[in-house]
Symmetry: C2
Subunit: 197 residues, 2 copies
DNA sequence: GCTCTATATAGACACTGTCAATATAATGTC
DNA sequence: GACATTATATTGACAGTGTCTATATAGAGC
């Protein structure tokens, strides 16, 4: 029998994660404090340490889950598209962009070196897999070019990341006008694609 | 006569700025606390409020100064080069990149929406002037192209910013191997230039 | 001399992360 | 069953933080 308020929560790790993610979306990473999360989860401020050793570990876990979700989304879109070579690079790029504009605080967290641990092995692993998707598409799309596929992949990912990051800082144009920040975002991806054609 | 420790510091605003900048370079933005800066400046923790109304204002002032310095550097390099059209875009891009790799914490601060005020009029003004430099070069370099100069400017700035930002997160390759992060950075700029040729 | 303003101090408040000591629940072992 | 061990949660403390208040002093204007 589960009591109304058992001493052992049972699923606290998951609840802490969910609460932290909700607070991230609503208040930004600054709103994800150990004490606020614990309070929202209905436990004392000392409870979370049993599941996340410190705030950094909690935020890193959230970041990792976001990269996982992004990779899943990319693979899902790629699979849906089949092996038509040409538009596949756009798919990877626009999936990243869509994610950034849909979840600005989550996206910002992914690149906050002061908040998460960018040397975490699992985090690096999923980032590498995303990077591999880009490289794979480029090695198919531009076989005999001046620069190697890594340069193309780095350039495109950099461009997409830089665009999202600067837009989230209010640069170029306000975010409100379109949820996906599409017009200019699509334009620069088109431009990049055009360069390869 | 200046006493050894006069009540009125006389130049506290400047000292606070300098101390804060030094702490930023050494410890990152997290090390720039009002109390630590006040202590290093030899005043009480309540003194800074007379010169910077809160921590955000202090960090925003520092950010503004960095953009000013970057613009000055860009203009200096452009002037040195003369009106040869072709390599001027590279100059703007590499000046940004050099700044980012030389002063990682300063660069990171420029895009920390939670730490500085990106609606500050003076800040926006100097950012606009940097953006204008890019646009000017593109309007000279690519007169009759498929995309307007803003798209090129946004794309290049995004690419450069994204590359620096991700490298500062440890992405792609370690920062240690070269202070300027040059090889891949030069490659992606070359690639962009090549697209326009 | 005086007043007014700018500037600095000191203390308080409500937060924060993290650690240590303690208490309780759950699990494994006999 | 009883007992020891481990996992989990509570509570309190500590050193920080930004920011607000009340207070004190310096300097400038008259």
């Amino acid at each position: 029998m589960t009591q109304l308020k058992p001493f052992h929560h049972g699923d606290l790790k998951r609840v802490l994660f969910d609460v932290a993610l909700a607070r991230l979306d609503e208040h930004g990473a600054g709103g994800v404090t150990i004490r606020a999360v614990a309070k929202a989860a209905g436990v004392s401020h000392g409870a979370p340490v049993n599941h996340y050793k410190d705030r950094r570990a909690l935020l890193t876990a959230i970041a990792k889950a976001q990269f996982d979700a992004l990779l899943t989304e990319i693979d899902s879109r790629l699979e849906e598209l089949g092996e038509d070579c040409e538009p596949r690079i756009e798919i990877v790029a626009s999936a990243m962009m869509d994610f950034g504009f849909r979840y600005p605080h989550r996206y910002r967290l992914l690149w906050s070196a002061d908040l998460i641990d960018h040397t975490d092995a699992e985090l690096l692993s999923v980032m590498d897999r995303i990077y591999d998707r880009l490289c794979t598409e480029f090695s198919k799309a531009v076989p005999g070019r001046k620069f190697d596929k890594d340069t193309y992949a780095v350039a495109l990912w950099s461009m997409v990341h830089g665009y999202v990051d600067m837009r989230l800082s209010g640069m170029f144009e306000p975010l409100n006008d379109s949820i996906s920040g599409a017009p200019r975002g699509e334009a620069i991806i088109d431009m990049f694609k055009g360069f390869l054609a």
